[in-house]
């Protein structure tokens, strides 16, 4: 038997997970759209135009006591509970064989890449303190030797989550569509750059990291993450795919790499799970690590307040309180071009843009180091 790492639901688990994807789509589109109409109606019914809400906090005053808002809240909360329960069924049924497969792959003399765990790494808040997205146990806890559980659960939800938010790209579990999208944008922003060393920060399950190996087969690919079960899983996923990539348990704001080690540094939805201080650390680290002529290109959620209607700001901020997203609103309030400039990137080479892929829009930010 060839050892293989991956999230493999059986028939009924897949049916359950598909239902939850549909339920989330219903709540995120139909219920939220009804909520927008109710909000507009409530605002129109206010006694004077001066009383119309101008800030998220004022909009919360208008809508959060409305029965439809409460219904949206309870359905969103429950769909999240169901989602984690449903993927846990698959994980618990397959975890022992997955760990065996990981050990076989990680100890194989023929393996293409590497994995490096750290005894010194300090996992910081909010990852250390919060169950991000209310994932049971969070990202980093280990329940058993060579544990993969947190990463398997995450892997089972990530496309369900994206598709239900209208930000999916039709990918199935384990596909690398978002990484391919980032690679496309990298080629658009730096057409002359032929990456030879790529760093994927907050690489998570490693499934997207592999997109860079597929796109730039001659480049050295490195993925880092602060959650150990994910670092193992990423190594297993890469070896299962037969692709050379190196993974390490490391803090993106404080890495072990030498100055100017990479010519392309990327991340996918990492920053909104950090803090303002960590954003500054990570951007400075990117400036230190990127080579002259290189590109730093981060993808994150496009929910900056100037782009969002007030009611969407209210529902997004609800995620802070009830979905384990402590920095969601804090990240959205940052000007990431200014953060890049503060970290050292020249103003004319720093950027914060929006890029579309199908129905999905994502925020891209970073900069280039002068050649």
């Amino acid at each position: 038997m060839n050892a293989a790492i991956g999230f493999e639901p059986n028939h009924d688990e897949a049916a359950r997970q598909a239902f939850i994807g549909s339920l989330k789509g219903y709540v995120n589109f139909k219920v939220e759209s009804a909520l927008e109409s109710v909000f507009d109606g409530e605002v129109a019914a206010l006694e004077s135009a001066q009383a119309a809400p101008a800030t998220r906090e004022q909009a919360e005053e208008v809508i959060t006591d409305h029965p439809l808002f409460k219904l949206w809240g309870t359905l969103t909360f429950h769909s999240q509970n169901l989602m984690w329960q449903s993927v846990a069924d698959t994980t618990q049924r397959t975890i022992d064989t997955q760990i065996e497969a990981y050990r076989a792959l990680a100890s194989s003399p023929n393996k293409k890449g590497s994995v490096k765990l750290s005894q010194e790494l300090v996992v910081k808040a909010p990852v250390s303190t919060t169950e991000i997205h209310r994932q049971p146990g969070g990202y980093w806890r280990e329940q058993r030797e060579d544990d993969l559980e947190a990463a398997m659960n995450y892997s089972g939800t990530v496309d369900m989550y994206r598709n239900a938010k209208g930000m999916g790209m039709g990918g199935k579990v384990g596909s690398d569509t978002i990484g391919q999208f980032v690679a496309n944008v990298a080629e658009k922003y730096a057409p002359e750059l032929k990456p030879t060393a790529v760093l994927d920060m907050g690489c998570g399950t490693g499934e997207q990291t592999l997109a860079y190996k597929r796109r730039f087969p001659d480049a050295t690919i490195t993925g880092i993450d602060c959650a150990r079960p994910f670092v193992r899983f990423a190594h297993g996923v890469a070896e299962t795919a037969g692709l050379a990539a190196n993974f390490a348990e490391m803090d993106a704001g404080n890495t072990d790499f030498d100055d100017e080690s990479f010519d392309l540094i990327v991340s996918i939805i990492m920053f909104h799970e950090t803090t303002k201080a960590q954003v500054q650390d990570i951007m400075k680290e990117c400036w230190r690590l990127v080579r002259p002529g290189g590109l730093v290109l981060h993808l994150d959620v496009p929910y900056q307040p100037h782009r969002m209607p007030l009611i969407k700001q209210v529902t997004n901020h609800w995620q802070v309180r009830h979905n384990g997203e402590p920095f969601w609103s804090g990240f959205a309030a940052l000007n990431m071009k200014e953060e890049a400039i503060a970290a050292g990137f020249p103003a004319e080479l720093a950027f914060a843009e929006y890029e579309q892929a199908g129905p999905a829009v994502y925020h891209f930010f970073g900069g280039r180091k002068p050649a």
């Binding site: 309870t74 909360f77 429950h78 300090v122 910081k124 348990e249 803090t275 384990g324």
Partner: protein
């Protein structure tokens, strides 16, 4: 690997979130309504899973030649089978509705 709080993180940029392990926060005026609604959604999920499994079995039977397409729709139970099915339906309805009916049947 260890963990520690990042002391540079001001509380205003890092507001409190859900407690680890919390699966029971409610949002409606009557918390019982939250739980009933969630139960209905969960049951609907299981109905959806069961329907999908039946569809899978039907497709496999058609593929194997054991059934023709639409045979289940044209199926007529025997008299004994119909009686047994009726008894199953009645038992399921009673199991769901008897407790509330009996609770409300108490005379003063």
């Amino acid at each position: 690997m260890t963990t520690q709080n990042d002391t540079r993180c001001a509380s205003e940029e890092f507001p409190s979130g859900p407690k680890p392990g919390d699966r029971n926060t409610t949002f409606l005026d009557d918390p019982v309504s939250d739980h009933l609604l969630r139960a209905v959604v969960t049951l609907t999920m299981e109905l959806s899973v069961s329907r999908e499994r039946i569809k899978t079995l039907e497709s496999l039977l058609v593929q194997s030649g054991a059934l023709t397409q639409g045979a289940a729709d044209e199926f007529e139970p025997t008299d004994d089978d119909a009686v047994a099915r009726s008894a199953d339906r009645n038992a399921l309805i009673a199991a769901i509705l008897d407790p509330i009916m009996e609770h409300l049947s108490v005379t003063k």
